[in-house]
């Protein structure tokens, strides 16, 4: 890889290397996983089951909003004063629909045309997780994201072979991936804080 490409990848990786985004997404996936577990285990038709179903979209949408706010606030207060600020290009990727559509199409085709282990929620969940994390991980050269993506896929397939209840399998896949992200994000965040102490004075002092 030439030096210019290396520098550019390092710039993209900066957003992820403190581990904050992983931490927050890990919390969200774990909570969603627990909610899915409730959906799968609560007796059908009971208020608990109904509440769990209603909570799922609320938790997902609210969780996405919370992740954005959490990461933004902590980056402003903890990261930018230590290692600086980058505003990433806000121009939408013209291929974003393709990037999002292909994994969904793969999942849909697998549901329609498969007749055995592939047609299982945990496998679909694992495939989607793997595609998302591996694509981010390869773009920014973060091996831990790639590793967690592959872990999610392997877990999803394993759970399908174990013939666990559909919703339970998906719940375990998301909760396990969430815990893995929490752990790796937490370690990365701790390492970031120890390697980059908060400056005692104005970080730009001396820039005239």
């Amino acid at each position: 890889m030439d030096n210019i490409t290396k520098i550019q990848k390092q710039t993209f990786r900066y957003y992820y290397q403190d581990g904050l985004a992983e931490l927050a997404v890990g919390v969200l996936f774990t909570v969603i996983g627990l909610n899915l577990w409730l959906v799968s285990s609560a007796p059908q038709g009971t208020p608990l089951s109904l509440a769990a179903w209603i909570a799922l979209p609320i938790l997902t949408m609210g969780g996405i909003f919370w992740v954005q706010r959490f990461v933004k606030n902590h980056k402003e207060s903890q990261v930018h004063p230590r290692t600086g600020y980058i505003a990433y290009d806000t121009q939408p990727n013209p291929y974003r629909w393709l990037i999002m559509g292909i994994p969904l199409l793969v999942a849909l085709l697998a549901i329609i045309y498969s007749d055995s282990w592939l047609n299982h929620e945990s496998v679909m969940g694992g495939i989607l997780l793997c595609l998302i994390l591996v694509s981010i991980g390869t773009r920014v050269n973060l091996w831990r994201l790639i590793g967690i993506g592959i872990f999610g896929l392997v877990l999803g397939i394993t759970l399908a072979f174990l013939q666990i209840n559909e919703h339970s399998g998906l719940a375990i896949t998301y909760a396990a991936a969430g815990l893995a992200l929490l752990l790796s994000g937490g370690v990365a965040w701790r390492r970031y804080l120890s390697q980059n102490p908060l400056p005692k004075d104005d970080p730009e002092a001396g820039n005239d």
Partner: protein, 107 residues
């Protein structure tokens, strides 16, 4: 034949026409970073390039004078923030520079 009668080999004439303002390693690193993002602040550029504050300031000043970057001084909370952004001239200049270097290095 004297040196004057032997011009630089045409294959290497391109090297002489490369923008020396961009070609300087520290400034090249700054421009490469700014080309990848909307903007970056002084602290990030300093950490990423490893330059001292004074050294980086001088390079940013030269790039600003050549209108390759824009510098905006703002505040984030109680801390001042110097934001740097590549201008259109800077983006085009960097694009030309990369093309020239590819031609010279044969990649």
């Amino acid at each position: 034949m004297t040196e004057k009668e032997h011009p630089i080999n045409e294959s290497w004439a391109g090297l002489a026409s490369v923008d020396k303002l961009i070609h300087e390693p520290a400034r090249l690193a700054v421009i490469t970073i700014l080309d990848s993002v909307e903007s970056a602040d002084f602290l990030y550029l300093q950490k990423a390039t490893g330059l001292t504050k004074g050294n980086l300031s001088i390079h940013l000043q030269k790039l600003e004078e050549a209108k390759l970057i824009e510098i905006q001084k703002t505040f984030q909370g109680k801390y001042p923030r110097t934001l740097c952004k590549l201008t259109l001239k800077g983006k085009q200049g960097f694009k030309i520079y990369k093309k020239q270097m590819k031609g010279i290095l044969g990649k």
